[in-house]
Symmetry: C2
Subunit: 215 residues, 2 copies
């Protein structure tokens, strides 16, 4: 009974593309749990294959990690999110609540969050790029929609507005960190956090624009 037969009693031979994808998916789970410093041997064991086989599909460990990043950050980003935020047939508050539920469905996953933290501590550019994306595709669109719904001028988003949106976004995100990373038993459910946070954002923006609003 060798190492490789531990997981799959009968050794299967899979086509290249399919196998590679299987490796990436398991690598996400594995690295999310054990960190990127964990060994390729341990990963291979969980895959039920031998360690050198990984090097037929990936040039190096770093190459495999890069694939993990792509699978998590690029492929899990949903293009529908932009449309949800832009759909003016729905009142803004409802739109924001629904968006954050959809966003949390993807981001508030143990593997997503842990990979994000591990990557951030490794110091690559991935997290910085992701943060820029959040600002450009989520926070600034939200502010533009707020201005439109309240009949305000449609100029450049101000630093005040962006920073407020970051604070509120961070508050929601931190709920995910507390529950998924630190294993805190949720005090109130996600819906409560999202609704109160959105209310904070909207009334905060109201405060910024007091006096500038049409009657």
């Amino acid at each position: 009974m060798t190492d490789a037969s531990a997981a799959n009693e009968k050794r299967k031979r899979l086509p290249s593309e399919e196998r590679r994808e299987e490796f990436v998916q398991k690598a996400i789970e594995f690295f999310a749990e054990e960190g990127f410093d964990s060994s390729t041997r341990e990963l291979a064991k969980r895959l039920g294959v031998t360690q050198p086989l990984l090097y037929r599909y990936f040039d190096s460990k770093d190459d495999l990690i890069a694939e993990v990043y792509k699978a998590v950050y690029v492929r899990r980003w949903r293009s529908e999110w932009d449309e949800m935020l832009a759909d003016r047939t729905v009142p803004l508050r409802d739109r924001l609540v629904r968006f954050y539920h959809a966003y949390a469905m993807v981001v508030f996953q143990r593997d997503w969050m842990r990979i994000f933290l591990f990557a951030g501590l490794k110091g690559g550019a991935i997290n910085r790029r992701y943060i820029d994306r959040v600002r450009d595709r989520i926070l600034e669109p939200i502010i533009r929609e707020y201005r439109h719904e309240n009949g305000l001028f449609a100029g450049q988003v101000t630093d005040d507005e962006t920073e407020l949106a970051w604070s509120v976004h961070g508050g929601i995100y931190y709920y995910g960190v507390r529950t998924e990373i630190y294993g805190q038993i949720p005090i109130k459910d996600l819906n409560f956090v999202i609704e109160t946070s959105i209310d904070s954002l909207l009334s905060g923006l109201d405060r910024f624009h007091e006096g500038t609003r049409r009657p």
Copy 2:
């Protein structure tokens, strides 16, 4: 020219207690930057001593890491914080702004934050204990002070209030993560984030207690 003479040209002999403390302080910097999986050899090199010397002061690597935790989480906690929050000669809003400035001075440090994240990902109990401490010593006292200042009944803090406080606290904390961990250039300064966050908290609490307030 040996390894050990790289940092201190002349090998000095320090008393035991002093030496140990020096090792712990350098270990904080080192592990904060490189992670707990980094080698004791590399740490020793930065200390300008040989690696086995570490084992005269600490039983094992884990023992050294435990000392790092203690130095960061226990010893940097300031007992004055409780008094700042409880000082009713100062209006609550000012009190909270001042407290969060003092708190951020300690927590928004690259080493503090990185050690906290590394520790959280390792999964020990330290972070959970710290989170409990934040709730018991910061968030719930804030809510009790809010109730007092607004003449509300002084009963048990509700889940709604606690969760709102977590959201706002998380928003402020995330500002530190963005600037210290992800290297984001601050859009607005810390004071702006604290003031708007405190305003969000207070008006959020106001919304929870609408109608219950004395005239």
